[in-house]
């Protein structure tokens, strides 16, 4: 019984939250990795792209709510998602036209492109704050729990509670659908294949008559969609705050690099490596330890790191990977 309780506690406090968080990071990292492999630079504006997209989704959600439109037990934000994606994709294409296109034309070095993206990041940062403000916003409506603590107790009779929030289920389901569509697109459609060809060998792609402008445009549209979905899921699961999204850049880049940057499968794997490490290392293991080791009551929380230091986890993993295995778990590519 003790063992079962320990497993329930781990599932409740580590596995479920880390899976949801990992799915959010994976979607974010996919966007970063796509830009890296096709446009060949690290896009530092990705976190703020997520914030912008989520901001639009929140505004549209409020609009729907004031009109009395709801999505039953599901959050209204899911209905607003397509509008957020459209707005973000338009912003991406606009930014490309105004900013990035020029640097592509002069064949700027990747590091110059990174600096350009830092500039874009600051602009988007401000844009998002103008749009929606700096405060923390909860925009989750609909049913809160799939399983709440009381139902769990009645179902199983266990002392240890387990809750499954609907946003966690929505996150994982949406992420699976999004990834499935993305992989189908990249592996089965003509446009998707031309994007992979462009990423593999730009000169040969041009020689084969692949239109670089179309590849770039489609890449930005997909990135905008991925960023908006990732941001909205994160916001539903936790809450929205522009600054938090900027901070997400670190775990997202860590995910992409751990998995092997430029490799979509790696981005997904990396997302889960980072989320499980972060949650696992900052979780107070006292309860689990008490269940598993009889006659022992730990004095402290048995917590390796305070949650304030959670970004240190991604940072440490990032550095370790860059030192010992720069190509990541799945072979990524280095520009």
């Amino acid at each position: 019984m003790e063992l079962v309780n320990a497993l329930v506690a781990i599932t409740n406090y580590v596995i479920i939250p880390a899976t949801a968080y990992g799915a959010q990071l994976a979607l974010g990292a996919l966007g970063v990795t796509l830009i890296y492999s096709i446009l060949r630079f690290s896009n530092f504006a990705h976190g703020d792209t997520m914030a912008f997209g989520t901001g639009v989704v929140i505004l549209v959600t409020w609009g729907f709510q004031s009109l009395g439109i709801s999505f039953g037990p599901l959050p209204t934000a899911l209905l607003a998602l397509p509008f957020g994606i459209l707005a973000t994709a338009a912003l991406m294409l606009g930014t490309d036209k105004v900013v990035y296109q020029y640097y592509r034309k002069v064949r700027a070095a990747p590091v110059v492109m990174v600096m350009v993206s830092v500039g874009v990041m600051f602009v988007m940062n401000a844009l998002t704050r103008f749009l929606i403000g700096v405060d923390q916003i909860n925009f989750d409506d609909g049913a809160r729990f799939v399983i709440n603590a009381r139902q769990w107790r009645e179902m199983t009779g266990l002392a240890e509670p387990l809750t499954l929030r609907s946003t966690q289920v929505i996150t994982v389901v949406t992420a699976i659908i999004t990834v499935a569509i993305l992989f189908w697109f990249l592996n089965r459609t003509r446009t998707g294949k031309s994007m992979r060809a462009f990423s593999d060998n730009e000169d040969l792609a041009l020689l084969s008559g692949i239109d670089p402008n179309k590849v770039v445009a489609v890449t930005w549209i997909i990135t905008g969609a991925l960023a908006t979905i990732a941001g909205t899921l994160y916001g539903l699961d936790k809450s929205f705050k522009a600054f938090t999204y900027f901070q997400l850049l670190l775990p997202i880049f860590a995910s992409a690099i751990v998995g092997g940057i430029g490799n979509p499968v790696g981005a997904i794997a990396g997302g889960f490596v980072i989320s499980f490490s972060e949650v696992g290392l900052t979780y107070a293991w006292k309860k689990v330890a008490t269940y598993l080791i009889p006659n022992w009551e730990p004095d402290g929380l048995v917590q390796l790191l305070s949650t304030d230091y959670k970004y240190a986890v991604s940072f440490t993993i990032l550095i370790l990977v860059l030192i010992f295995k720069p190509t990541g778990l799945f072979k990524g590519k280095i520009v």
């Binding site: 003509r190 294949k193 031309s194 992979r196 060809a197 593999d200 060998n201 000169d203 040969l204 792609a205 041009l206 020689l207 084969s208 008559g209 692949i210």
Partner: protein, 234 residues
Amino acid sequence: MSYLNASEMTGGYGKADILHSCTLTVERGQIAVIVGPNGAGKSTAMKAVFGMLPLRAGRVTLDGEDITTLSPQDRVKKGMGFVPQVNNVFPTMSVEENLEMGAFIRDDDFRTTMEQVFDLFPILKEKRRQNAGELSGGQRQQVAVGRALMTKPKLLMLDEPTAGVSPIVMDELFDRIIEVARTGISILMVEQNARQALEIADKGYVLVQGANKYTDTGQALLADPEVRRTFLGG
């Protein structure tokens, strides 16, 4: 008039010219080979034909049509196929996808062309699901040639197709190239292995410092004592 007629090409990447009034022609269904010492401008001459080098003088015609000002992409549409020396496949894409990308500019059904490529290179059919980056050097060259054939070119240009492959694979590749020529496709090829290449050549060009030094049939060049002494090592 020859099918490909690149006459009096002069030009280079910077201020200094690499090509000096260089002329290359290929007849329909024939094999023309460019040989010469290192740095003679062999690859540059071929790139000039394909529009990858700005020309100061000279003109290129294909089937009588002047294509001097066209971009490489537009030349592909006019019936040119080009196989670069290196980085000539998409390494993380399967053999089949590589061929598909070769046919990117085609709007019609390219499955029969793909079958023809598979007939020409049976090993590719066997490895159609494998990534091109995982193949051996010789097989990768076959993918590269196959990719270029997917647009059904009238003129196929090969930049050192046998670079870095073993002699056995080299002979096989040359056999395949002859087979391609027999289907009516003209071939313009740059080769380091001058002797073997001239043996299969209908026409040979020896370039020295970006200019035509000797031009004759492959057999005649092989028989020419001057050419033998200076370029073929006796």
